[in-house]
């Protein structure tokens, strides 16, 4: 269980997020939506403890995360980001192996090697394993990064595992976006995984999220299942565009913007 309590984060005198409280249960996919500048990315970074809030706290299973060391935290918390640039020639396997860094010191052990092979298989990147990361397309690179992030969280721990998504779909085409969301969903099915992420496309959020948290100007507008949060009024209020709702046959909602 991940809980944020009264989180406020400012840069200078500007509050990027204000007094946010929310809890995120394991086994569900929690997506944060909101217009540009709503504080979505900031909230994810605070929850992942890259940023420390000025007030409020973040709890992982009831204990304040501020006291955990970087190295300890990295064993159970991973973040999939927008686009990772690497200035030096690294092979795909070396990049994926980085996901195991928090789990070994010195050289990787047999378990680490095995997990890396499994994860690469799982993400269909085994065929690239000796190619340089730089030579891959955007979609392929992101698959490699996803493999790296899951290598980090692959093995069960005594506590929950926390996966954060910091707009990982931004530079992907629609086929990759759907493919990624399916993979994230299936990973989140594990009952000890808490997944919180930012996604721009409201239709993707509607289709894949269990819970949606809607932010505007650093404050929570709504928090709940997609059908309760993604209403015509709220979308109009927050995004300033008026959607038409279509109910698909599998009872998903679909939005059309005029």
């Amino acid at each position: 269980m991940l809980v944020g309590r009264n989180i406020t984060f400012r840069v200078g005198s500007k509050e990027l997020i204000s007094d946010i409280s929310a809890s995120f249960a394991p086994g569900g996919l929690h997506l944060i939506v909101g217009p540009n500048g709503a504080g979505k990315s900031t909230l994810v970074k605070v929850l992942a403890r890259l940023l420390r809030p000025q007030t409020g706290m973040v709890e992982y299973e009831g204990s304040d995360v501020v006291h955990v060391s970087e190295a300890e935290l990295a064993k159970r918390r991973a973040v999939l980001s927008q686009a990772v640039e690497i200035a030096f020639p690294l092979t795909v396997r070396e990049v994926v192996m980085m996901g195991r860094y928090p789990h070994f010191s010195g050289r990787p052990g047999p378990t680490d090697e095995q997990i890396v092979d499994e994860v690469m298989q799982h993400f269909d990147v085994t065929e690239f394993k000796d190619r340089y990361y730089q030579s891959l397309s955007g979609g392929e690179r992101q698959r490699v990064n996803f493999a790296r992030v899951l290598a980090q969280l692959w093995s069960h721990t005594t506590s929950c595992r926390y996966l954060f998504l910091d707009e990982p779909l931004t530079f992907l085409d629609i086929r990759h976006q759907i493919d990624f969301m399916k993979r994230i969903r299936s990973f989140t099915k594990d009952t000890d995984v808490v997944t919180v992420g930012v996604v721009h496309d409201l239709n993707l959020a509607a289709r894949f999220a269990d819970q949606i948290l809607m932010l505007d100007e650093g404050r929570i507008v709504a928090n709940g299942p997609p059908s309760e949060v993604l209403t015509t009024e709220k979308i109009k209020q927050v995004f300033g565009v008026e959607p038409t709702m279509i109910q698909t046959e599998d009872s998903n909602i679909h939005l059309i913007f005029n």
């Binding site: 890259l50 970087e70 973040v79 030096f88 070396e94 996901g99 010195g106």
Partner: protein, 344 residues
């Protein structure tokens, strides 16, 4: 990784062999050549019960041999320093010389020579390396302070290079001024030495440089994995459990110490730290564990070769070694800049 791992180990073994060969050449050839038999007799004379060394043997033991060892150590320091700076700034065209460390260290040492003579201070073993480190720290700090953007506090690479250029020029002119006001014997050593030279090698220098090189390299290897994580970005490295700020401070300090101590005894030798990591990356990829060990060996080899050229090209006189490394390094540097394969 297994194939790559094997390849890297082979490469490192080959590098050890090349380093040994070059070292043997370096102790044999110079103003006078020594045969292997003479070298063994000279080494044997160190043991009790053997005949006293002859003049030639003493030249070997007190000049040639420590010079060869110092050259290996300084080369290793510069190679490792280059690798560390490139890893830290995630940029393939940074090296200690370009961000002011070497010229600052040279200025610190020059100041020590001139003032030390006048004020009769600091004749202890450690005064010179400490003066060099202080100079290196000040100049490196100055470069980073001035290159930092006012908006986001980050140093862009273009700003770093330009500021490095300016700060280097400043410290070089200060060295020039010191040599201008210095009394004759000191002045000569300062000029020669702002171009880099190993002619001042002694066993005392070997001891101190060995200490900083070995300790610095050990610390560097310990942090190689964290430096690898840094390759994918500061945020990403944090997510992988790296305390990025701490890492930056440790690596910068190691770099300043190993480069400044080496510079204290040999003067400014540029471009070794730039070229060495490149050669290795082309041969065996970018893993820093491999790069740090490899760049120590490659740096040692290259500098020894440069020293051989410096000694043999105008023998019995010799060139400052910095002239040789720059003559080779500058074209390589320009080639790298123009290739633009890397992200800036």
């Amino acid at each position: 990784m297994t194939t790559q791992h094997g390849r890297r180990q082979l490469l490192l073994i080959a590098l050890v062999a090349v380093t040994l060969l070059v070292t043997i050449a370096s102790i044999r050839y110079g103003a006078i050549d020594f045969s292997i038999a003479e070298i063994s007799r000279a080494l044997a004379s160190l043991f009790p019960g053997q005949p006293e060394p002859t003049l030639d043997q003493r030249i070997f033991l007190e000049l040639r041999f420590p010079r060869a060892i110092l050259c290996l150590l300084v080369g290793a320091s510069l190679g490792v320093g280059g690798t560390l700076m490139q890893a830290l700034f995630r940029n393939p065209i940074v090296e200690p010389g370009l961000v002011g460390t070497s010229s600052g260290a040279a200025f610190g040492s020059a100041l020590f020579f001139v003032l030390g003579g006048v004020l009769h201070i600091g004749t202890s073993l450690w005064s010179l390396p400490i003066a060099a480190c202080a100079g290196g720290i000040i100049s490196t700090y100055l470069v980073f302070l001035l290159a930092r953007s006012r908006e986001d506090g980050r140093a862009s690479i273009v700003m770093l290079l330009l500021t490095g250029l300016a700060v280097n020029a400043l410290f070089m002119s200060a060295i020039g001024f010191l040599s201008y006001i210095a009394r004759d014997p000191q002045a000569r050593s300062i000029t020669f030495w702002s171009l880099g030279t190993l002619s001042g090698a002694s066993w005392k220098a070997v001891e101190i440089v060995a200490l900083s090189t070995v300790l610095g390299s050990i610390v560097a290897i310990r942090y190689a994995k964290q430096l690898n994580a840094l390759m994918i970005g500061e945020e990403e490295a944090t997510y992988l459990g790296v305390n990025v700020n701490r890492l930056k401070w440790i690596i910068l300090s190691v770099n300043v110490v190993i480069v400044a101590v080496a510079t204290a005894f040999t003067g400014v030798i540029s471009f070794v730290g730039l070229v060495v990591p490149h050669i290795l990356r082309m041969l065996g990829g970018a893993d820093n564990r491999f790069l740090i060990v490899g760049s120590a060996l490659t740096g040692a080899t290259l500098l020894t070769l440069a020293d051989l050229i410096a000694r043999l090209s105008v023998r019995p006189a010799e060139l400052p070694i910095g002239i040789v490394t720059s003559a080779v390094g500058v074209p390589v540097f320009i080639f790298l800049l123009r290739r633009r394969q890397y992200v800036f």
